[in-house]
Each structure stands twice: as structure tokens, then as C-alpha cells.
């Protein structure tokens, strides 16, 4: 299958799921029932940024689904395929928002799910000063948890902010990676749709710090491409939905580095099967340059460990 075919397969699947979820939710709660995320002033942030539309109730959603379906043209064209990637992001945002209707869906999950506005605001300063030199989005399930943990720790030491989606969360945790906002390693969730919460972070960065006007999609894409130094690492086999999500990342200007064979696009979509090189490959692909003075001590040293609390092992 060609790359565009893969993207469309994934985006069409997500569009179908989204439409089903919206219809079910309306049936269950009615059109006037409120929908949204906790602790945000930006409604459904991706939809708000892309279209300027403020989604407040379930009744607002069918129109949004219509827009996202219209973005999936199934045409053999990169621009169109990237739009389908963005449509996938919109679909995921809607699906996740509906999950929040029944209370916090992440209550039982190791992930935190939606990232609130205050957290993004707290990250703003270190992002602007370069104290956080980049944002790594890790996704999937690794065949080798040890190397996965090494990758996360490496990002941590370099001061990057790492978001994790999928079974890699447990894998990394079991391999000794400490997680939490203070450690700059944030587990988002296990469903592939929860990756949308990092897209939401990038988009709200543009809204909050870039003061980009809602509805000006092109400006958002330019902002994320130029100002948000994010990239995606996928682990393990990738399905069509992941490819479609990846297309959304590429539309935002974020390169995707997979550890399996993919149809490569220089600078945007690459294969790096050697996990010992994942970090360097990723940083180079996003042009992230880090000056590190290695202090030869028996523990890791980085800003990421600043908020660490020391407890007794029990």
C-alpha cells in the first residue's frame, strides 16, 4: 500500500469511529449536554484553533465531524493526505472529549490524559528559554524495554519533555524510568487517541504564547513547525491509525522516526531500527542542538531531576 493509501485508511477509520461515538453520545445524553475538557479555556483546543469554533455541547459536534470528513479527500496528494492527518487529530480530540463525559477516563490509567492549561503555562517559560530544548512524543510498544528506558533517560538527561503513549509507559516504568511532570516524562494514556493530548499541548502553546488567532490554521501550522521543537518516536509495528496520526504530526512540522520499515520521507518520516541511535537521529531531524557538559558522577544530572523528592524505599 502506498503511503497516502495508508494515511487515508487510518483517517477514514478514525472518522468512522468519531461519527459513531458522537451519535452514541447524543443518543445517550442529548444534544444540549455539555462537552469539553477540564481546566482549559480553549474548548476543544484543536478544533478551536483550526476553525475558531467553540464546541460547548454535543449538538455542536456533528458539524465538526462533517468538517473532518470533508478533509479526507482520498486524493493522491501530500497536501490532501496531511489534511487527512489533521482530520484524524480532530477525530481523536472528539473521541477523547466524549470519553470525558463519564468522568475522568484516566482515573484508572497510568496516563494523565488531557493536559490542563496551568501545566502548559508552567512549561511555557522553560520552552521559550530553551531550558526544555525539545518535546519527544513516544508511542507504541517496544520489543526491547531496556533500550526504550535508555532512550527516555537520555531525553530526560538532555532536558527534553517526553510524552508517552501506549504500553511503553509500563515498559519504561518497569525498567526504572521515573515519571511525572517534575521528571519531564509524562505518560498520557494507552489508547492511541490519547496522543492527541500532546497535539493539544502544541496547539495551545501557539494559542497562549504565540497569540495566534483561532481559525487561522495555516498560522498554527507555521507556529508549531517553527516554534515547537517536537518529534515523534514510534516503537513496534505501526498500524494505519498510527500512520494517519503521524501524518497529523508531519502536518504540524514534527518529524516521525519509526523503528520499523516505513516509506521514508527525508526529514519527515524515517526509519531508525537501531535504538542506540534513536535519540541522535531524532534530535538531528528536528535540528535540536544541545550543549551538554557531561559531569562524570554516578547518577544522572539534569534539570529534569530538579523537582525530585527523596523518599525511603519501602
Amino acid at each position: 500500500m502506498s503511503l497516502t493509501d495508508l494515511i487515508y485508511a487510518g483517517s477514514n477509520a478514525v472518522a468512522g469511529l468519531t461519527e459513531g461515538a458522537v451519535n452514541d453520545a447524543i443518543e445517550k445524553y442529548g444534544e444540549s449536554h455539555a462537552v469539553g475538557y477540564p481546566d482549559t479555556a480553549y474548548f476543544l483546543p484543536i478544533i478551536y484553533a483550526a476553525t475558531g469554533v467553540k464546541i460547548k455541547t454535543l449538538g455542536d459536534l456533528p458539524a465538526a465531524v462533517g468538517i473532518l470528513k470533508s478533509l479526507i479527500t482520498n486524493k493522491d496528494d501530500l497536501g490532501e493526505a496531511l489534511n487527512a492527518g489533521l482530520a484524524t487529530a480532530v477525530g481523536a480530540e472528539i473521541i477523547e472529549a466524549i470519553r470525558y463525559l463519564d468522568g475522568d477516563p484516566y482515573a484508572e490509567d497510568a496516563g494523565i490524559g488531557f493536559v490542563s492549561d496551568p501545566i502548559i503555562r508552567s512549561l511555557g517559560v522553560p520552552l521559550v528559554t530553551g531550558d526544555i530544548p525539545g518535546i519527544a512524543v513516544l508511542l507504541g510498544e517496544s520489543a526491547d524495554p531496556k533500550t526504550l528506558a535508555a532512550i527516555v533517560k537520555d531525553y530526560q538527561e538532555k532536558g527534553l519533555l517526553t510524552f508517552m503513549v501506549g504500553n511503553i509507559i509500563e515498559q519504561a516504568s518497569e525498567a526504572g524510568v521515573k515519571m511525572g511532570l517534575d521528571y519531564r516524562v509524562i505518560p498520557l494514556g494507552h489508547e492511541v487517541t490519547s496522543v492527541i493530548h500532546v497535539v493539544s499541548v502544541a496547539i495551545r502553546t501557539a494559542l497562549i504564547f504565540g497569540a495566534v488567532e483561532p481559525g487561522k490554521l495555516a498560522d498554527f501550522l507555521a507556529y508549531t513547525k517553527e516554534r515547537v521543537p517536537a518529534f515523534v518516536n514510534t516503537f513496534g509495528p505501526i498500524d494505519e491509525v498510527v500512520v494517519a496520526v503521524g501524518a497529523g504530526a508531519i502536518a504540524l512540522g514534527f518529524p516521525v522516526i519509526a523503528d520499523v520499515e516505513v516509506p521514508e520521507v527525508p526529514g519527515a518520516l524515517m526509519t531508525q531500527a537501531d535504538h542506540s541511535k534513536t535519540v541522535e537521529t531524532s534530535l538531528e531531524s528536528r535540528d535540536i542542538k544541545i550543549k551538554v557538559t557531561k559531569i562524570d558522577v554516578p547518577v544522572s544530572v539534569a534539570a529534569a531531576f530538579e523537582g525530585e523528592r527523596v523518599r525511603k524505599d519501602t
Partner: protein
């Protein structure tokens, strides 16, 4: 002819109005004087290869005279005429190349002919199997390689050395179909033989022999011309230039170099830098010496030195009509014999320099490898001394010029592609893999080589520019050479900003690689660079280039050289689109062979399409079909 057809080009309109005022004749006047051109010649069914003729047969099967006096029918006559066009074209390119090789044979450390790209000299020498290619003394090696190359023109046995550059799958096709070209001159001679009265009459056989002769051009003459020019004068690298008639400077001594062979032009450029001449120009009241180029010699000079491009084929007269050209210096090919008479309407001196192209009417200075720089000095002196003769009242330079980027040799393109290779992946530097990657991923849908001339049968540059704009809009990356390249330059397509005219995929590629969406790859012999590039891409995937989503296009072709080019491009497995229909329609059989049947044994065919927009539609279907077949 009415100026209506020239609405596209403001420069042309103004120039032609001025020509009328000055009482100067142009190609449009002569085109009009031709009235309706002969239908028999147009269909290719007029034969005058022996003195029993001229014969003309009916272009409509079953009606009128069906055979010439010897019995040759329309199929034979059309095939022979077409084949002789190929022979003419292959000869022109190859003889050009021979001069370059001779110049290389005359190189010495103290110049003026010197080895400027020693690395390439050693690379090509190694490619051709010269022992000690990396250790031999530079000039000894250059002379050895030059002698070897001269052998390519007339060696008694074997085929062209550069054929080995193609993937094995393509070489197998050539072997199987017997179109691997032998010695270049042999192919031309034997084709002239076959098309003599009473020789070959089988139109398919003539087509194949013509194809092989074309191949002797692309993989022989032209490729030698390009590679050896790079060795002698430097391999082009990306650089800025400027184009259109506005590059002529009213305050300077303007010298137009027109023709093809860089041997002459390089010496002219060298001589023009001589401070003595610049002082002389200032003494005559000029601010300096301004060399501007036209056609392929202009392309050669802009690729290597950023020399400004005054215009393409159809503008050669307009250039003189500006009244600001002190000297037109020409060598060979595509030079209107009308120029000396036109020059006499102004103060312009017209100087022809090649014994092969002595053009009557003004001045002849014989250029040779032995006296190259002296000849150039003499020419510059004549131009400078002519400056005071300029009639200011007749000077009118159109205020139109366009910044442009040039210099994209295969080496320069690979150099750019290296910038997007992640150094931590297993991808090697110095390859075309990033290009094949984006084609395979569908970021760009394919690639097109847009080449060729201008032709007064169609609106000048309109088809070039339309095809290019429509293709880049559809994410097809374009490479250009010759007068098509100059049309693109004038239209602003050879700029980084032109990415805004592209589809999303190509725009991304242009941004990341930092290139224009249309890449100027040089002169007409430099189409061999395009062949090389396509074959490198096929090599990355280990496939026959015929499978790649790649096309060749000659929207406004005119010369026999273009016919030879189209043949070797098809022979190399690349479907070739012609915007001007060749003189073959008098034989439906031959036409079908070219446009359909040859697909079966060559993996490629010709497409005739006059409407550039329809042509683009056909090309997109072609490219998408190829993609589907490859599963990408």
C-alpha cells in the same frame, strides 16, 4: 505575422514594434512570407534523396500516388526523413563533443585550456577503466582520457562506454533490441547509408536504426560533451544569475555569446576579465564589459559562471534590436543566418568563429584550440572599439529581467540532497536516495525533464511555462535544459520563491532541500545529466528506469537535435511528450510505431500533444499509472 500570439511576453511585443520602426526583418516576417507551409513536407511524405525525385506521395493511404519512382511508399519515406533528422541532430551534438575532447587533448598546466575539475577527471577515468586513474599526473591522464574519448567516435568495435551507467535491466533491453550504440560516427554514417536510395525500406528497421543513432548521441556525444566540459571548465554548482533582455546594460560594452560550444565562450569570458580591456572600455566611455548569453552557450556560461541570460532561441533577433549590442559572437548551431543582415541595421558586429558554421554577411574570425585566447582577445577588442559607434537614439532595452538560480548539475543536486540525509541513519551521503524516497512515498508524484527549443508554430514560451507551472502545481518536480530552461528562468520558476506555485508535497521538498521546484540542469548536451540522474534513481531501487514515474517533454521543439534527443530519451525508457508534431503523420504505420508499438520492445513511447494543458493531464495519468504498477 500579427503580434497577437505574443501577448504572453511583453518583451517580444516591444521588440517587434521597434523592429518595425527600425525597418528590421525578424523571424515573424519570414514566417509570414512562407505563407502556408507545404502539406507534403509537413506530413513527411516528400522525398528528395535521389535525382529521380523529388517525389511526393499521398499522406492519405489509398488515395493519390502511393509510391515514389523507386517504389518507396509513405512508410519508407517518412521513416527515412525522420531517421535523417536524427542523424543531423546526433551529428550536431557529437561534433560539439568532439571539439570539447580536442580541447581537453590540448590542455596544459599553463593554459588557457586547463583541467579545472581534477576530481571529475579522475572519476571518469576510473569509470572508463584507466589504470592508475587516481595517481597519474593530471595532464598525462587528461590526454589519455581524451584519446580514449576520441575513440568513442570512431572505434571499430564495441559499444559506447557510458552505457554501463544504466541499470542492468535497461542494458539488457538495449542488447536484446540491438539499439546499444556503437561508435558515434559509425551510427550516423550507417544511418545515412540505410536511408540512401535503394537501401532500407522496412520502416520498423529504419526506426530502430534511428533509435540507435539517437542513443549514440545521448549516451555518447552529449554525455561526453557534458562530462568533459565539466572536467575542463568546472562542474556547475548552484549560483544566482539573471535573465531576459533587461540584462543588457546600456552603460557597458555588451557582448552577446550565442551558439553552443563552451570552448569559445570560456575564452571570451576569460578575455573579458582582462583589466587591459576593461580600461580600454572605460576609455571609450563605457562602464565595463557585459557578457550576456543566449541559447546553449549562454546556458553553459550561466551554469558555470552565473553569466546573465539575455534570452532563448526566439529572442536572438530581439537582442540585436535593442541597439545596445556591440558584438554578437557565435560558434555553431541554432544561429539564424539572418543575424548579420539584422546587425547591419545597427552598429552591431556579427562575428562567426567556427569553420563548421561560417555565416556570411559580416566578419569571420577562425577560432581554434591552438589560438583560442588570442581569438577571444581580438573579438573583445573589436567589441570595445565598436562602443562609440552605438547610436543612442536607437537604443531601447526592455526593462524586464528576472533573478534566477542556475547550476544544478547531478553533483550539485546530490550535494543538496545530502542536506536532508540524517547522519545517524544507515543512509549514505552522496546518493539520490532522498529523491527516490520522496517519489516513492508520494510526496512528489514524479519527475519531468522539460527541454527543447522555441518554434514560431506556437506561442513562444507559452507551452514551456504552462507545462512547468501545471506540473509543479501537481507535485511533479521538473528539471530543465536548453531554451525551455531559459523560458523557465524568465518566468521566475527558477527561484526559491517559486515554491509558492507548487503543490504541498513539492513545496515541502523545495523548503527542506532549499531548491527551486524547477532545476536548471544546463544546455542541450546536458540532457545527458538528466539521463544520468534518472538512471541513478533507478539504480537505488534496482529497477529499469522505464518503471519510474518520470517523463520527458519537448513542448516547443524545433531542431533535428531535439529529434535525436527525443529518440534517446524514449530509448532510455522514458515516455516523451512532443508539443510540436513531427513530420511523420503521412505514415499512420510509422506514427503508430512511435506512439504505441515501440512501447512493447522499448518500454516507452512518444506522445504527440499540441495543447499543453491536455498534455499535462496525459502526463499525470502516465505518472499515476507508473506509480500504481510499482505499488507506490
Amino acid at each position: 505575422m500579427s503580434n497577437e500570439i505574443l501577448n504572453y511576453d511583453k518583451v517580444a511585443e516591444a521588440s517587434l514594434a521597434k523592429a518595425k520602426r527600425d525597418g528590421a526583418e525578424t523571424m515573424w516576417d519570414r514566417k509570414a512570407a512562407q505563407k502556408t507551409q507545404c502539406g507534403f513536407g509537413e506530413a513527411g511524405v516528400c522525398c528528395r534523396i535521389c535525382a529521380m525525385g523529388p517525389c511526393r506521395v499521398s499522406p492519405v493511404p489509398g488515395k493519390g500516388a502511393e509510391r515514389g519512382i523507386c517504389g518507396a511508399n509513405a512508410d519508407t519515406i517518412v521513416a527515412r526523413n525522420f531517421a535523417r533528422m536524427i542523424a543531423g541532430g546526433a551529428s550536431a551534438h557529437s561534433d560539439h563533443a568532439r571539439d570539447i575532447v580536442h580541447a581537453m587533448h590540448a590542455t596544459k598546466a599553463e593554459g588557457p585550456f586547463k583541467i579545472r575539475d581534477e576530481a571529475k577527471l579522475r572519476r571518469i577515468s576510473a569509470e572508463w577503466g584507466i589504470e592508475g586513474a587516481d595517481t597519474k599526473e593530471t595532464y598525462a591522464l587528461a590526454h589519455e582520457l581524451a584519446e580514449m574519448a576520441l575513440g568513442e567516435f570512431g572505434k571499430p568495435f564495441g559499444t559506447q562506454r557510458f552505457l554501463k551507467r544504466a541499470p542492468q535491466a535497461r542494458q539488457d533491453v538495449w542488447e536484446r533490441e540491438d539499439i546499444a550504440p556503437r561508435a558515434i560516427d559509425m551510427e550516423v554514417t550507417t544511418l545515412m547509408h540505410s536511408t540512401h536510395m535503394g537501401c532500407a525500406s522496412d520502416y520498423e528497421s529504419i526506426f530502430r536504426r534511428g533509435m540507435r543513432t539517437g542513443m549514440a548521441d545521448g549516451w555518447g556525444g552529449s554525455m561526453i560533451g557534458t562530462e568533459f566540459s565539466d572536467i575542463l571548465y568546472g562542474t556547475p554548482t548552484a549560483k544566482a544569475s539573471s535573465s531576459n533582455l533587461g540584462v543588457i546594460d546600456k552603460d557597458q560594452v555588451n557582448i552577446l555569446i550565442h551558439g553552443h560550444d563552451p570552448n569559445l565562450a570560456e575564452m571570451i569570458v576569460l578575455a573579458a576579465e582582462n583589466p587591459e580591456f576593461i580600461e580600454m572600455a572605460k576609455a571609450k566611455g563605457a562602464k565595463g564589459i557585459n557578457i550576456v548569453g543566449m541559447c546553449c552557450t549562454g546556458n553553459e556560461m550561466t551554469m558555470r559562471h552565473g553569466i546573465k541570460i539575455a534570452g532563448n532561441f526566439y529572442q536572438q533577433e530581439m537582442c540585436i534590436i535593442t541597439g545596445a549590442i556591440e558584438a554578437v559572437v557565435v560558434d555553431v548551431q541554432c544561429i539564424f543566418p539572418a543575424l548579420p543582415a539584422l546587425a547591419k541595421k545597427y552598429h552591431t558586429r556579427f562575428i562567426s568563429t567556427s569553420e563548421k558554421a561560417k555565416i556570411a554577411g559580416d566578419m569571420f574570425i577562425k577560432f581554434s584550440e591552438a589560438t583560442g585566447l588570442d581569438n577571444a582577445n581580438e573579438i573583445i577588442k573589436i567589441a570595445v572599439e565598436n562602443f562609440p559607434n552605438r547610436d543612442a537614439s536607437k537604443v531601447e532595452i526592455p526593462d524586464i529581467k528576472q533573478d534566477t538560480l542556475v547550476g544544478y548539475s547531478v553533483e550539485a543536486i546530490i550535494d543538496h540532497l545530502d542536506k536532508v540525509v540524517n547522519t545517524n541513519t544507515s543512509d549514505a551521503m552522496g546518493t539520490v536516495k532522498p529523491l527516490t524516497d520522496v517519489i516513492y512515498a508520494g510526496v512528489i508524484r514524479g519527475a519531468a525533464g522539460v527541454v527543447g527549443c522555441n518554434n514560431p508554430k506556437v506561442e513562444h514560451d507559452y507551452a514551456h511555462v504552462t507545462v512547468l507551472k501545471e506540473l509543479i502545481k501537481r507535485d511533479v518536480i521538473c528539471v530543465v535544459t536548453g531554451c525551455a530552461a531559459q523560458a523557465a528562468a524568465k518566468a521566475g520558476l527558477l527561484t526559491l520563491e517559486a515554491k509558492e506555485m507548487c503543490g504541498r508535497g513539492l513545496k515541502e521538498v523545495c523548503e527542506r532541500v532549499n531548491i527551486p521546484p524547477v532545476l536548471h540542469m544546463g544546455s542541450c548536451v546536458d540532457i545527458s545529466r538528466i539521463l544520468h540522474l534518472v538512471n541513478l534513481c533507478a539504480d537505488v531501487k534496482g529497477i529499469d528506469p522505464a518503471l519510474l514515474p518520470v517523463v520527458g517533454i519537448a513542448p516547443e521543439w524545433m531542431s533535428e537535435k531535439a529529434v535525436a534527443i527525443a529518440n534517446y530519451v524514449v530509448g532510455s525508457g522514458i515516455n516523451t511528450y512532443l508539443g510540436i508534431i513531427p513530420q511523420v503523420l503521412g505514415s499512420p504505420n510509422f506514427t503508430k510505431l512511435m506512439t504505441e508499438d515501440c512501447q512493447e520492445f522499448l518500454g516507452a513511447h512518444f506522445v504527440f500533444e499540441k495543447d499543453p494543458l491536455v498534455m499535462v493531464d496525459k502526463i499525470m495519468v502516465d505518472l499515476e499509472d507508473k506509480r500504481t504498477a510499482l505499488g507506490i
